[in-house]
Symmetry: C2
């Protein structure tokens, strides 16, 4: 390489795929967004660059340090770090032009300058769905969102997922009833439940709330059984807290509607360990792990919030939504070998090879195939047949049509199946 | 609004659409990319943030001042300003993993800090297609690219477009044969042909090349007639220049293959005024104007280049491609009233309204409709029927299915067409 060349490379923490994997990535995306669309969710697209004051209207916590900033002219600009903040801004800004309940999905890249480590990306696709109401929103929507997570994962062929559902009101009502005052610290500890040993958890908990309360908390966390059994046991606790009872009532409704929306009990578990951070969600919360690959964490999560856009408007917009970090999901699916076996029909189906001066006829065949909904391309270079066939092989094109003078005269073409080697004669009439 | 609220707004020069228009935008995008896919082009996606040294390996000229830069850690980062530079970097970087001819399309946002003016965007979608060969690439590909431009515009329902095609070799060979040495200045002037008066053009030209040459140039620029007639007249000039003759030969081939690929002579004109900038394209160049709305400029343009990735590799990668600035195209189509009349079937088709406790049955109906490929949503809020119907109206949902106890019992549902008011009884069996 000459000295004046720049080494072609991308930044660490950025994902870039070769065509074969990009086809799969896109197939996964279109299956997920397809589920959202068939359920009446509308597409939304917002700028990647926004005013810093808008993006950071609410303290973004740890994320704030990771924000990419840029200065152009006299405005402070930043790259969005999620799709929730832009959605809140959008909903407040166009409030009067939107029809509520407003159901939107959004696919887009977001940016976080995270510490460089395997499987963590600085630029990644998120695909979010949310339903927001104007002033009120039925609990049925919580179930719809979780049901769509299930459908989306099924659609891409994942069968090992498990939805873990809780309701923030249950634990917060319970802790209040116990008289726990440092609730936030307790919640942070519970959020870490899976990452520490049982002993560590208990000892930390005891330090925070004392022996008696820690036993009560440990008991409720330890409730086991079917979803119905867990709900029964929660009810049987007869906790003297409206918030707790409301939480149990809500999770029971979510369970009922999940079943109605086609999600079977085997697909989800009620799990009080699910917290999803501290200050955003207010009711239903859920995560999705891959059974046998729990260490990768949740691949799809979300929940219910009381007020989407309080930093931008006085209008109260309760909602429920979820987010799939598609770039990370793709990474995980690759790691567990799912991508290698992924079946899709998004590759090119036909390669049409002219022999001699038959391109006129090849163009006719190609047009016919495309009008029938197939992807078809003509090999346009003057290469040897072997090279042309090798092109089909390398690109995994399943069917090759060779067109010479004979085919033009007879109006009959031969379609060769590259997998089976079988040849089929097709009349162009 | 309370004082502690941040005004929800976006930056000037950024496009954001309400759902109704976003549906149309997305429909246009999917029709365009659909044409690329059915012709065997593979999807590609590159980071929006790249190393500054990579993005600016080749001086980006005027654009360089418009680049958005950001600093994170010790690397100089910038936002891509087109999709060509990342494509060149990609082709050089993964050279050994790609199959040539490599046919790719890429849809993505690019960034330019342009002066704020109507119809100019700082963040905009480009949709590029390119075919690059390893060392060589048949001229037939030039015709394929132009043919795809025609198909893509037809697919979205545009009928007023006109493709304007030239070949850079024709003028550059002609000028060389005339002994013109300040070719670049002359090319810049010709590039401005449509923006200045005929008199200005002639007077400027005479200043640059003298009276005799200016007349010769004016003559060749004035050649009129059908595409075949223009080619005949160019040949009849018997210019003593290999480059010129090669250019004429190439444009004749492109014309022939365009016809073969289904583009009729009425869709395109050979037009020597088409230059497309100065230092990138080397052969075929084309633009696309909307007849009757020429003032908006080209909505789709491209051409042939000799060497895609010379800044990153010694490998010679000739190619041909084109770019559609979709954000700007959408703006133009809105200005000329095309978007208001745009027909598409990407809205939700069915709204299912439960009356009483029939959501179980509504879920069944919804599932059935979705499995048949329809978009269907259930109205989940406990609102008055009037409000539910108004939701359908506002979102332009064409068909409403009201399900009460009677429907559940009889297994017959009534589908109401919101446009015609007609009702149809459908048995669920």
């Amino acid at each position: 390489m000459s000295n004046n060349k720049i080494k072609p490379s991308i930044l660490p923490g950025f994902m870039e795929l070769l065509p074969k994997e990009q086809l799969i990535f896109n197939d996964i995306v279109s299956k997920i967004t397809g589920v959202y669309e068939e359920n009446g969710f509308l597409p939304m697209d917002t700028p990647i660059i926004e005013k810093e004051e808008v993006l950071l209207a609410k303290s973004a916590g740890e994320t704030e340090k990771q924000v990419y900033r840029l200065t152009k002219g006299d405005k402070n600009l930043a790259l969005r770090f999620d799709l929730t903040v832009p959605f809140a801004r959008f909903a407040a800004q166009y409030m009067n032009d939107l029809t509520f309940p407003f159901k939107r999905y959004q696919l887009g890249k977001v940016y976080r300058g995270e510490r460089n480590q395997k499987g963590r990306y600085r630029e990644f696709y998120q695909c979010d769905v949310d339903i927001v109401g104007n002033g009120k929103l039925s609990i049925k929507n919580d179930a719809l969102v979780v049901a769509m997570a299930s459908r989306a994962l099924k659609k891409i062929g994942l069968t090992t997922y498990k939805l873990q559902i809780s309701n923030r009101k249950i634990l917060s009502g319970f802790l209040t009833a116990l008289g726990v005052t440092n609730m936030q610290e307790v919640m942070i500890l519970i959020d870490k439940y899976e990452k520490i040993t049982r002993e560590e958890f208990l000892s930390e908990l005891e330090k925070l709330v004392g022996k008696e309360n820690s036993e009560a908390i440990n008991n409720i966390m330890g409730i086991q059984g079917s979803n119905d059994e867990i709900i029964s046991q929660l009810k049987a606790l007869k906790v003297n807290s409206e918030v707790f009872n409301k939480g149990v009532e809500e999770i029971e409704e979510v369970k009922t509607y999940l079943n109605i929306f086609g999600v079977e009990d085997s697909e989800f578990t009620i799990d009080l360990k699910i917290i999803r951070g501290l200050d955003y969600y207010t009711g239903t919360v859920f995560e999705t792990i891959l059974q046998g690959n729990e260490s990768y964490g949740s691949v799809c999560s979300g929940g219910r919030y009381d007020n989407l856009a309080q930093n931008y408007t006085d209008n109260v917009l309760p909602g429920v939504g979820m987010s799939i970090g598609i770039t990370r999901l793709f990474f995980v699916l690759k790691e567990i070998g799912f991508i290698d076996k992924y079946e899709h029909n998004s590759s090119v189906e036909y390669l049409i090879i002219p022999i001699g001066d038959t391109i006129h006829y090849c163009a006719k065949v190609s047009k016919m195939l495309q009008e029938r909904g197939s992807k078809a391309e003509i090999y346009l270079e003057d290469d040897k047949l072997k090279k042309k066939m090798s092109y089909a092989n390398k690109l995994n094109i399943k069917k090759v049509v060779i067109i010479g003078e004979d085919e033009v005269k007879s109006g009959e073409i031969v379609v060769k199946d590259m997998t089976t080697g079988e040849q089929e004669k097709v009349s162009m009439k």
